[in-house]
């Protein structure tokens, strides 16, 4: 197992958002993280990606402790994430965002920005267009400001940003929420392709069960901050407890 999270706990005032959460993912594996609203899925992703600092617990990636590292450090270590809600950033184009994602791959010193002034990035631009934007059907809008795009397209841009970092651990927070089912299936296909190509470990938070069932190798169910079940997609679907808590059956 290359990602091993254990005993992750974080509180906000009186609310225990995540409590003694455990999760493991191997390279090349897509793990679905599902659970009712407010279960703590996003908060858990925030802990692993460095946005929140949990009170207790460990998150080890290939043996290194990730907790306490900043998102920018984590990104350079190959941990990239997407957001449940995407911001509409003024002025920046689709390609700009992809380049920002790719900048995590350049391990540079402060003076590197000065070199950037005199360096052409047309090779990177071509690579991003072919490898990332084309499969996400974003190549034709590459030079458009993202604020002109539909919500679904903006989610794709957010995924493009994360993928441009060539991550080893990819954390996806509801990548297909708000998308049409066609867009959603295309997005899920890209995630599987990327996993095949990069061999990265993927944690995918998602409510849409058809996408989860068809994309994930394994599923972890969260409720009230903790893991309540873990298994293959078929096992999860058959489990009466999961059906009660999550699918709302008596």
């Amino acid at each position: 197992m290359s990602l091993v999270a254990r005993e992750v706990t974080i509180r906000f005032g009186g609310v225990i958002a995540v409590e003694r959460m455990a999760l493991e993912v191997s390279p090349g594996e897509i793990v679905g993280l599902i659970g009712p609203n407010g279960a703590g899925k996003t908060t858990f992703i925030n802990c692993v990606s460095g946005t929140y600092r949990p009170h207790t617990g460990t998150v080890r990636w290939l043996g290194d402790e990730l907790l306490g590292l900043s998102p920018s450090t984590l990104l350079r270590k190959g941990v990239a994430r997407t957001f449940q809600n995407v911001a509409s950033l003024h002025d920046l184009t689709v390609l700009d965002i992809a380049k920002l994602g790719a900048s995590a791959r350049k391990d540079r010193q402060s003076g590197g920005h000065l070199l950037d002034f005199f360096r052409s990035d047309s090779a990177l631009e071509r690579e991003l267009l072919e490898q990332i934007l084309e499969p996400l059907e974003l190549a034709d809008v590459a030079h458009k400001p993202i604020q002109t795009l539909s919500y679904g397209r903006r989610k794709a841009v957010d995924l493009a940003r994360a993928l441009a970092a060539y991550p080893q651990l990819l954390l996806l927070d509801e990548p297909v929420a708000g998308l049409t089912s066609h867009e959603g299936m295309a997005m899920a296909g890209v995630v599987r392709n990327v996993r095949d190509r990069l061999g990265c470990a993927v944690i995918m938070v998602e409510h849409k069960m058809d996408v989860v069932m068809s994309t994930c190798d394994r599923i972890v169910v969260m409720a009230a901050g903790s893991k309540i079940f873990e298994g293959l997609p078929a096992e999860v679907q058959a489990d009466p407890e999961v059906r009660r808590v999550y699918l709302g059956e008596p």
Binding site: T51, S70, P71, F83, L89, L100, F117, K144, A165
Partner: protein, 335 residues
Amino acid sequence: MNTRHLVIAVAVALLMGALSLAFGRFGAYMVNAVAIAGIGALSLNLLIGYGGQISFAQGALLGVGAYTAGNISNAGGDGLLAILGAGVMGAIISALIGIPALRLRGLYFAIATLAAQAILEYLFKILDPITNGVSGLVIRPTTILGIPMTSDRSLVVPSLVILVIVWVAVSRLMRIDLGRSFLVLRESEIVAKGMGIDVAHAKILAFFASGFIAGLAGALAGFANRLASPEAFTLDLSADYIAMIIIGGLGTWTGPLIGAAFVVLLPEAIQRVGEAAGLSDILSPLRELAFGLLIILFLIFEPRGLTALLSRLKPRSLAVPAPGAVPATGESLPP
């Protein structure tokens, strides 16, 4: 390199150079003033318009540039060295001013910059050996690369050259990772952090770059006025620069220069009209009133300033748009 921006910048500088020749000493004085204000406005637009960090200390930063350049030049250093030294000093002081921005945000940070402005003004008054106190530091005419800068006419050349370099450099900056991260920072620090941008690093570099450019503008202002005095670099000057970038268009490439020209030339125009109508006593306080009103109107109706207004006028004035013309969308960052 964005060739379009390079061509525009050179063309504007040549036009300004021609104007300075056409209108004698006064023309040279005004062109120099616009160029210097343009450089200063570019520096503040980089910080506020692109980086989203509101600062009221840019006036004092120009002062830092003027005093630094004055001292280097008076000590016999070449004017170019003095200008670069002013840039470096401006960058360092600006980065120091930016440190509280790592903790404070928005309005709270803006108030911290007010304090920085006040502290710098105070230092200008008391650091006698380098600032010559309240009476100000007299800057003897400098020489740049051996050429004596005896008049506004000779100073116009370095001012316009630096304007072009800074203008094009800002354009380039906004197309590299650092500039792109400024734009994300401006929209939301939380998003920037989540995207893996090193927010503290980016902020300090925004202050550093902005301060460097402000230092250059301050040096040129010092050489033009032959004096660096505390009264020249007060909060009023900071406010003027904020007016320039808002009126010109926050976060646009042409805005700072348009705003600078407007803010420098408007008082002249008001005064001319006043003299002609025999009303100068009544009209001169109008300047402040006009700026205040304009800022409010622009913020409400056209946050992208004169730049956006002008680009909206364009398609209408050209009755038939050129085939394949792209609709004008405000001079922001063209892809």
